[in-house]
């Protein structure tokens, strides 16, 4: 596995300071800080602090197809085309989370992984960091979604996945960004 980008460390100098903090929610952890900004003024900022991570996976099967999901997303009330993904558990490595999510969501086992550039899904609100991967030579079996996951596996030709992406048919932002970063890797390996 290659790691192409450095970790996303906080800046050494922080121009804003938290004067007070109150918890807004425990799970997920959301706080409201009274902040003193760089201009000296104070304001409240509600956000999800650093710490949460997720793994996202572009699974490529042994016969060169791409495994997508149709998943119901309650906050937006839509069933979306996306890729396997899930939270990295406490103490877990992102790559291990990727392997676990592959197994849970598509019953998949991969022979190799390649890491893609890390990204923040919405840095104006959340300190979460997302870890995207491509998984190669994936074999598919029975999946085991949780009661709070409503999803259907859909295996498509790689070029069809990218047609959907370019045509705006993958509105799940983190899934779409992961697919875009994966495009160069798939091209380089002659898969696209």
């Amino acid at each position: 596995m290659s790691e192409r980008t450095p970790d996303l460390h906080p800046d050494d100098d922080q121009p804003w300071t938290a004067l007070e903090r109150r918890d807004v929610s425990r799970a997920p952890h959301i706080v409201a800080d009274l902040v003193q900004g760089h201009a000296g003024t104070t304001f409240e900022y509600t956000y999800r602090p650093r710490g949460g991570r997720a793994a996202l996976i572009v699974p490529i099967t042994e016969d060169g197809r791409l495994v997508m999901l149709r998943q119901y997303r309650y906050p937006i009330g839509m069933t979306m085309t996306e890729i396997p993904a899930g939270a990295v558990e406490l103490g877990e490595e992102p790559l291990d989370a990727a392997k676990r999510e592959l197994a849970e969501e598509i019953g998949g086992v991969a022979r190799a992984f390649e890491a893609l550039p890390l990204f923040c899904p919405q840095p104006s609100f959340t300190g979460q960091i997302f870890h995207p991967f491509v998984a190669f030579d994936v074999t598919l079996g029975e999946n085991a979604p949780e009661d709070s996951e409503l999803l259907r596996v859909e295996v498509v030709p790689i070029h069809e996945a990218y047609r959907r992406l370019d045509d705006g048919e993958i509105p799940n932002g983190p899934s779409a960004l992961t697919l875009f970063h994966a495009r160069r890797v798939l091209s380089r390996r002659g898969l696209l």
Copy 2:
């Protein structure tokens, strides 16, 4: 302006039902629902309901360069390379928000806009919908950031912006996804 993708409407059939709801935060609006899922079990789901929107803009200057920002993001504690963006206000059209944010963040005025595919920044948590645009023939003037915005304008050759993107140097997810969607538009117009 062309609109390339349909709006992201909720599904007609909703497989989950909210049995109870409590407010967790007012601004931003975050709720915790007691949900009855498709499997009949109940669980709590904390999320940001539908309604919020943001506009993101890839500004291309008259001399064919791309306007980026270096902006401090408090939740992640990092100064990031990104593109102009901001919330769509109540009653405002996304395109008007794009024009307003261009003026506020880079002192910019554009001669034309092209809409890119809509996306959800994190549909597992938020019902927000993001509206990305490319802005053409942008002239730059004095910007007027708010006290809670710490940003610096950086005008770069278009190919340099895409080198940074491909090399994983743009960790702001919504900015990176907007730039990827813009690539086809810029290629088609002979700008990249």
